[in-house]
Amino acid sequence: MADIVDIAVNTDGFKTLVTAVQVANLVETLKSPGPFTVFAPNDAAFAQLPPGTIQTLVQNIPQLRRILTFHVVPGKWMKADLEQVSSLTSVEGSPITINLADGFEVKNATVLTADIEADNGVIHVLDRVILMG
């Protein structure tokens, strides 16, 4: 199996995410043994952000890194595991609410594809970039 980064690179629809991860120097981290759970917004999700948002973040690596690490949770949380919890703490430090009552929702995003397993964790694909707060 491939690691989280490889899967993202080799799957269509994650161009923005991959670029962002590369710019933020998070590739090495996400290639490390982990394990991690990554909530990965697809390109459409990034496209929903108002203009300029990405540009500012790309200009400011620590801030970009912070947003990206908010999408990462230590440990390997499969959808089934998440039924037990209502909230996870992200690498960034802020909590991420999980709602499985009606579909699979992570904060205000909906999981499009759940449980894409990788060597060093699992990926859940989101339809929206989630933000702290």
Partner: protein, 431 residues
């Protein structure tokens, strides 16, 4: 009034006290009714606010970065040319993100005012300063102090000020700043916490300065767009702000100090502090909602519970303020109104002359316009938060729409207090 174009899936009407406002927010509107008169007032005020703000942010950064711990900062409001020329990161040709199409250096109207002042006379700067014919930096400091006094309003910036890492950074800067000054260094040995607290306050100077550096070009651009006929409704003005909030959400918040040409990073950019979380939201909470009662306008008896026990229950900000006492000497809102008075666009001056006491009470009239405009800014913040944390207004899922509604109603609950001005700004004859 906005024509309420209800989303395809409709919720039952809200039963909230401000149901009208809830519905307007759900339709993508602002808390401020959409009338041409409101639009003219808020845009004119944004412009009048942005000019002194262009001074505020520069001077706040100057104090945070250069004046630093000067024990006798008599000249902290004397902005050196270097800071007047400091390029705004969001205006001018070389901007990180060009929000305003104008210049990155200080606004020409500001420079003109600094030269001649209200007296329209070129005098040495000291005279203008002592005559109080200048930009009232005291207002900016009052805002900073409100943020610093309330503290802990979310974000990682404030907790960081109490971390060992921050203390170590500050310590290095303090020692460097007072190098060769045994008196101050001795005092520092005796009262280290006092010095640290001063540095924390200076970090808030930097925080607010960096916050306003963004807002000034945003407001200038809105004014220009209005003049060009490209902003025609209140929701458009609000949406411009919403987009602005997102576009610069990631701008770093930091505190650098320059001592003898060397940069000391008290709060390095690498901490990842962001404009939205570490500056904008605490600012809105501290200045729009909480602050503290204006001095000199009313006596409060803390024993009689006229002042809340809990600082978080303070509601004396611009959204609640009684603008009528403005004019009493030295209170921060008066200082701001005075500053804005110098830069009103002509259409607002004409407008105020036609109402109430004309020129005599222009300070209050523009204060109330300012209140309207800040309700619009708050609406933008509410809509931005809704965008970031909740769902689109046309989300097909009724559960999501209900979550949006609960969010809006929760926000509006804060305006149920009797002193909140949300009711008043719904009326045009509140001026």
């Amino acid at each position: 009034m906005t024509t309420t174009t209800l989303p395809p899936i409709t919720l039952p009407p809200s039963t909230h006290e401000f149901a009208d406002v809830v519905h307007r927010l759900e339709a993508g509107g602002s808390m401020l009714p959409d009338t041409p008169e409101n639009l003219m007032q808020i845009i004119g005020i944004y412009k009048a606010y942005a000019v002194p703000m262009d001074f505020y942010w520069r001077d706040l950064l100057y104090i945070a970065e250069r004046v630093f711990l000067n024990p006798l900062p008599a000249f902290k409001y004397f902005l050196p040319q270097e800071y007047l020329d400091l390029p705004n990161h969001y205006a001018g040709e070389h901007a990180d993100l060009r929000i305003w199409r104008g210049e990155a250096t200080a606004h020409p109207e500001l420079l003109e005012f600094m030269k001649t002042g209200e007296m329209k006379q070129k005098l040495p700067r000291l005279f203008h300063h002592l005559w109080h014919d200048r930009i009232n930096m005291e207002f900016a400091e009052a805002c900073m102090r409100a943020m610093f006094w309330h503290r802990g309003m979310g974000g990682q910036f404030d907790p960081y000020l109490d971390s060992a890492e921050y203390k170590a950074n500050a310590d290095r800067a303090i020692r460097a700043y007072f190098q060769g000054n045994p008196v101050m260094l001795g005092l520092y040995q005796l009262f280290p916490e006092m010095f640290l607290e001063q540095v924390r306050q200076l970090s808030y100077y930097a925080n607010l300065g960096l916050f306003w550096e963004v807002m000034a070009p945003v407001f200038f651009e809105m004014s220009d767009l209005y003049d060009e006929g490209k902003i025609t409704t209140v929701p458009e003005a609000m949406n411009f702000l919403v987009n602005g909030i997102f576009a610069i959400a990631g701008r770093p918040i930091y505190h650098h100090v320059y001592i003898r040409g060397e940069c000391y990073e008290i709060i390095p950019k690498s901490k990842g502090f962001m404009w939205l979380y570490e500056a904008a939201l605490p600012y809105v909470e501290a200045v729009f909602y909480r602050t503290s009662p204006f001095r000199g306008t009313k006596s409060y008896n803390a024993q009689a519970k006229q002042v809340p026990d809990n600082q978080a229950d303070f509601h004396y900000g611009i959204l609640y303020a009684d603008v009528f006492p403005v004019g009493s000497a030295g209170i921060p809102p008066t200082l701001l109104m005075q500053d804005m008075l110098h830069f009103l666009p002509p259409y607002l001056v004409d407008y105020y002359k036609q109402h109430c006491r004309g020129e005599d009470d222009m300070l209050i009239q523009l204060g109330i316009s300012f209140q309207r405009s800040m309700y619009n800014v708050t609406s933008a913040v509410i809509q931005a938060l809704r965008t970031a944390l909740l769902y689109p207004l046309d989300d097909p899922n009724p559960r999501h729409l209900m979550a949006n509604r609960q969010f809006f109603e929760g926000q509006l609950d804060r305006f149920k207090r009797p002193e909140a001005r949300l009711r008043d700004i719904q009326r045009q004859n509140y001026r």
